[in-house]
Symmetry: C2
Subunit: 191 residues, 2 copies
DNA sequence: AGCCGGAGTCAACATTGTTGACCGAACTTC
DNA sequence: GAAGTTCGGTCAACAATGTTGACTCCGGCT
C-alpha cells in the first residue's frame, strides 16, 4: 500500500458523509453525488472505494445496542429495562433503523434488517429465558419491541409520540414483562 | 368528455398494471416504463394521466380492512379476533403494506401510512374500548398489531414465520386481549 | 366545413448510478 | 538515479430513470 496521507482520510470522509446522509435522508433520497460533494471529492471515487452505493450503505448502516443492561438486570425487571432501552434510543439509532426499514425493499438491505432484528432483539432476550417455549417468547417480545419502534417512527402514531416517557416505559415495560415471563402458564387457573 | 372507448380502458389498464407492479416490486423498483409496457401504452401517457409516479402510487396503494369482525365480536374475544384477522391478511394486503412501509421514505407516502395505521388499527379498536385510558390501550394494541406485521413481513423473523398459525393466533390473541382489557388494574397483587 | 379538446406518439431533457480513459505521485526494484 | 508499477484522483461518457414539450390524430360541437 502506498500513500497513506490523503487516501485513508478521503475514504473516511466518504464513509462519514454517507453515514450522515443515509441516516438523515434515507437510501433512495441520498445520491452518490451528494455524498461526494459532502466529502469534498468525486462521485467516481465513492464508487471506486465502496464498489456500489448499496455496498456503501451496508458498510455504514450498522445498528448496535448495548447488551449489558439487558443481561445484568434481574429477570423480573427485564421488561421495564427493555422498554427504557427502546425509548432512550436516540437520534442516530432512529436514523439507522428507519434507513434500514425503508431501504429493505432492496434484498441485501432486507437481509441486513433481518440479521439486525435477530441479534439485536431476539438473541439477548433469548439468552435470559428458559423453558420449552423460550424461543417463541423471545421472538414475540422482539416483535413487540419492533412494534413500538414501528408505531413511533415508521407509522408515526401521534398519540404515542405525545405520551409521557415515564408512562410509556411503565405500560410497555409491563407488557413486555408479561410476554417474557407470563403470569399464568397459559392454561386455565387451578386454585 | 370525448371518446370513452380507449381512454378509460387505458387509464384503467395503467391503474391495474401499476397496482400489481407496486405490490410485487415496491415503489423504487418499479419504473414508469415498466408500468407503461405492462399496460400496453406509452410512458408519457402514464404521467399525463396521473401527474407523477408518486401520485399514481398513492392512487393505487390503498390498504383496507373489513371492520365488522372487530365490531361484532364480544369484547373478551376481541384480541383473538384481531390476531386471526392479521394472520389471515393475504398476499395482496401484504404487498400493499410492504410497499407503503418501504416507500414511506417519501413524505407523502409516509402520511398515507400514518393515516392507514390510524384508521385501520387504532380507530376500530378505540371504538370498542371505554375508560380514561381507552385511547392509549387502543394505540398500544395497534402498535402490537403493527409489530406482528413488522416482525413477519418487514424483518422477516423466520422463527415466527415457521410457527403454527393456530399457536400464533392463540399467543398473539391472548397478548392483544391483555392490552385491550387488562387483567389486573395495573397495581401490585394483594393476596 | 371548421374548430377544439383530449388521447396518443416521439424525441428530448435533467438527474441518477456506474464505468473507462487518462494523469500524477510515490514506492519498489534494478 | 532510472524505470516501472500501483494507487488516488479527475473528467467525460454511458444507460436508465422520471418528466416535459411539440406534434399528430380523431370525435363531437357550432
Amino acid at each position: 500500500m502506498l500513500q497513506t496521507g490523503s487516501s485513508v482520510s478521503t475514504r473516511e470522509s466518504i464513509h462519514s458523509a454517507a453515514a450522515q446522509l443515509f441516516r438523515s435522508r434515507g437510501y433512495s433520497r441520498t445520491t452518490v453525488r451528494q455524498i461526494a460533494a459532502e466529502a469534498g471529492t468525486d462521485p467516481a471515487l465513492v464508487i471506486r472505494h465502496f464498489k456500489s452505493k448499496e455496498l456503501l450503505f451496508l458498510e455504514t448502516m450498522h445498528l448496535t445496542l448495548d447488551d449489558e443492561p439487558l443481561l445484568d438486570v434481574p429477570l423480573e425487571r427485564l421488561g421495564e429495562r427493555l422498554a427504557e432501552l427502546l425509548l432512550d434510543l436516540g437520534g442516530s439509532a432512529r436514523g439507522v433503523f428507519l434507513a434500514l426499514v425503508h431501504g429493505s425493499n432492496e434484498p441485501h438491505i432486507h437481509d441486513r434488517l433481518r440479521d439486525t432484528h435477530e441479534h439485536l432483539f431476539v438473541e439477548p432476550l433469548r439468552r435470559r429465558l428458559t423453558g420449552p417455549d423460550a424461543d417463541v417468547r423471545a421472538r414475540t417480545a422482539a416483535a413487540v419491541a419492533g412494534g413500538l419502534l414501528y408505531a413511533l417512527w415508521v407509522a408515526g402514531d401521534q398519540g404515542l409520540l405525545r405520551m409521557d416517557r415515564a408512562e410509556l416505559v411503565s405500560r410497555y415495560g409491563a407488557l413486555l414483562q408479561d410476554v417474557l415471563t407470563p403470569r399464568t402458564p397459559e392454561g386455565p387457573r387451578t386454585p
